[in-house]
Structures are given as structure tokens and as C-alpha cells.
């Protein structure tokens, strides 16, 4: 009996380890984007007058690309702390949608474990996770940690590298890697459409989301436009699907 339990335990932990490693592997395609943008982010933050240690803290505790660029930009323009924090609140509000969309896949976990899953959530890891969910109908908790932690470590390392090497790099955009991020989003978009068998409807949702997310920047900030575009496009998708 005890031996059986031990065997079962080792079997389970073996399986969990495999899942963690598979999560790490699933993150690999996004690493070019994390490393190049993280590096550029480190350079920009250093140029804005942040110390290497402050940049390390920013990427470790805040861990959000667009938000870190904003901190750098707003420190240069001498904005108040409150203005910076409020701006970042709005920029990162879209995480509400990502977190909500992931929640059905982690129903078996305690709130604390759900917190751990959500703490390192990004646009990229969310997209990779939803593709996994579409393929396998569920997401393994260890797999998700493997994915999240790999992205996190690469981001932190890239930020620090950018901060340390900033003095030798005047214009990080010269390196042409800035298309890595749009390419990650394009790949995640296309793969998630192809994994679902709702191509017509998803293409309609895609076009509406693009038009609104871009068009409403004439009136709103770009981060609010992402939220508005996502909410309207998903609602239209839901309504059209119900009609059919």
C-alpha cells in the first residue's frame, strides 16, 4: 500500500515536472520578443536616469513592458508619482480581461494558487496559454508556471542587460528587432483562430477589434482603446454566435 502510494507520488511528480518543462518549451517562440524589447526597455530606462538597481526592481516587481516604458518617459517629463501610477493602472487594466478569460481553466485551484498563476500574466503568456487550452481543452498548473517563469526570467535578464549596456547603445531601434512583438501577436492571433472552428466569426471579430482599437485612439488613449476594442468585438462575436 505504502509502496503503491510512493510510486503514484513519483509518477505524479514526474508528470508535473514534464508539464513544467513543456511550459518552458512553449515559451521559447516568444523569447526573441521578450529579449529584444526587454533589452530596449533597459536601455530606455537607463537613459531616463534610472539606476541599474531601480531597473532591476521595476522588472522584478512591476513586470510589465509598456508600463516600464511609461515610467521612464514620465520620469523624464517630471510627472508626479500619482500621475505615473494612475497612468499605469489604466494601461494595465486590460489584464482584467486576460485574467477573466483564463479563469475557467483553473477552477480546481485554490484562490492562492490562482493568484500565483495570475501574478506573472502577460499578453504573450496569455496568448500561448489560450492556444494550449484550445488544443488540449485544459491548462496544467505546472505547465502555466513553466511558461510564466521562463518569460519572467528572460524579461528581467534582458532589462538588466539593457541597463548595463545602455552607455554603448544610443539608438536601440537600429537593430530591427522591434517587429518581434507584433509578429508574436500575429502568430498568436492566427493560431488561435485556426485552432477554433469559427473562422468566419473570428475574422469578423478580428476586423472589428482592429478598427475600434485603432480608430478610438483619435479620442482615447491607446491602452483604453485596446480595452474598448476588445469588449465591443467580443460582445459582437457573442451576439452573432447566439443568433445563428
Amino acid at each position: 500500500m505504502r509502496i503503491e502510494n510512493v510510486q503514484l507520488d513519483t509518477f505524479v511528480s514526474q508528470k508535473n515536472e514534464d508539464s513544467f518543462i513543456n511550459g518552458v518549451k512553449a515559451c521559447v517562440p516568444t523569447l526573441l520578443a521578450y529579449l529584444s524589447i526587454g533589452f530596449a526597455c533597459g536601455v530606455v530606462q537607463k537613459t531616463a536616469g534610472l539606476s541599474v538597481f531601480e531597473i532591476a526592481l521595476l522588472s522584478l516587481i512591476l513586470y510589465a513592458g509598456s508600463a516600464q516604458f511609461i515610467v521612464a518617459a514620465m520620469l523624464v517629463t517630471q510627472s508626479t508619482s500619482m500621475a505615473i501610477i494612475m497612468t499605469i493602472f489604466f494601461i494595465n487594466l486590460r489584464h482584467l480581461l486576460l485574467s477573466a478569460a483564463l479563469s475557467p481553466y483553473f477552477r480546481q485551484l485554490s484562490p492562492f494558487k490562482n493568484m500565483l498563476v495570475g501574478a506573472l500574466l502577460t499578453d504573450e503568456t496569455f496568448g500561448v496559454a489560450m492556444n494550449e487550452a484550445a488544443k488540449k481543452k485544459n491548462i496544467n498548473e505546472k505547465w502555466m508556471h513553466g511558461l510564466n517563469i521562463t518569460a519572467y526570467l528572460n524579461w528581467v535578464v534582458a532589462n538588466i542587460a539593457g541597463a548595463l549596456l545602455a552607455q554603448w547603445i544610443s539608438n536601440p531601434e537600429k537593430f530591427g528587432l522591434e517587429f518581434a512583438l507584433p509578429a508574436v501577436f500575429i502568430g498568436l492571433l492566427i493560431i488561435s483562430i485556426l485552432e477554433r472552428s469559427k473562422i468566419k466569426l473570428d475574422v469578423i471579430v478580428t476586423i472589428i477589434a482592429i478598427v475600434i482599437a485603432v480608430g478610438s485612439t483619435l479620442m482615447l488613449s491607446s491602452s483604453l482603446s485596446i480595452i474598448v476594442g476588445t469588449i465591443i468585438a467580443a460582445t459582437i462575436g457573442m451576439v452573432v454566435e447566439k443568433w445563428k
Partner: protein, 108 residues
Amino acid sequence: MEVRWEVFLIIIGAAFVTFVPRVVPLMILSRFELPEGIMRWLSFVPVAIMAALVGQEILLHDGKISSIRSNVELLAALPTFLIAIKTRSLLATVLAGVISFMILRLFM
């Protein structure tokens, strides 16, 4: 090794307002069996949000809508989309995108 007190407060504040929207829906919504309508709505969120992000990455420049004629991002997006559809591989898509972008910028 210096960390200014004011910068430290900004980091903590910014991290807090980022952390809460990341974890609260997961912590609360995973407790309930959500109604079918909301599940259906949530199923469209990934496609919608990725599309919104793609749109802004490609069509906006410094927060403004960029002109279509000189938009290298838009041109590079075409082969990137094609490779994504053909291969269904994220890695192949990223490499195709970066290489197309580098080549296109040599000529534009």
C-alpha cells in the same frame, strides 16, 4: 546600488495597481460556474485582444495612426500572416516577421 525613495514608491504603487487586475478575476471567477453567455463572451476575448494589439502595433506610430504608404510594419505583416497561416508555428511566424521587417527596411 542606489534606489531613490520616490522611485521606490512609484515602483510599489505601479506594481500594486498592475497586480490587482492580473489576479483578482482569476481568484474570484474561478470560484463560480459562470453563466453560458459570459463563457461565450470570454471565449472571444483572446481573439479580440490579440487583434486589437496587432492593429495598434502595426497601424499606430507614437500613438498616432500612421500613413499607409510608408508603413514598413504593415508590409512586413503580410508575409508574417501568410507564414502563420501556413505553418501554425509561433516560432516560424516570429522569425518570418523579423526577417521580412529587416529586409523591407533595407529598401524603404
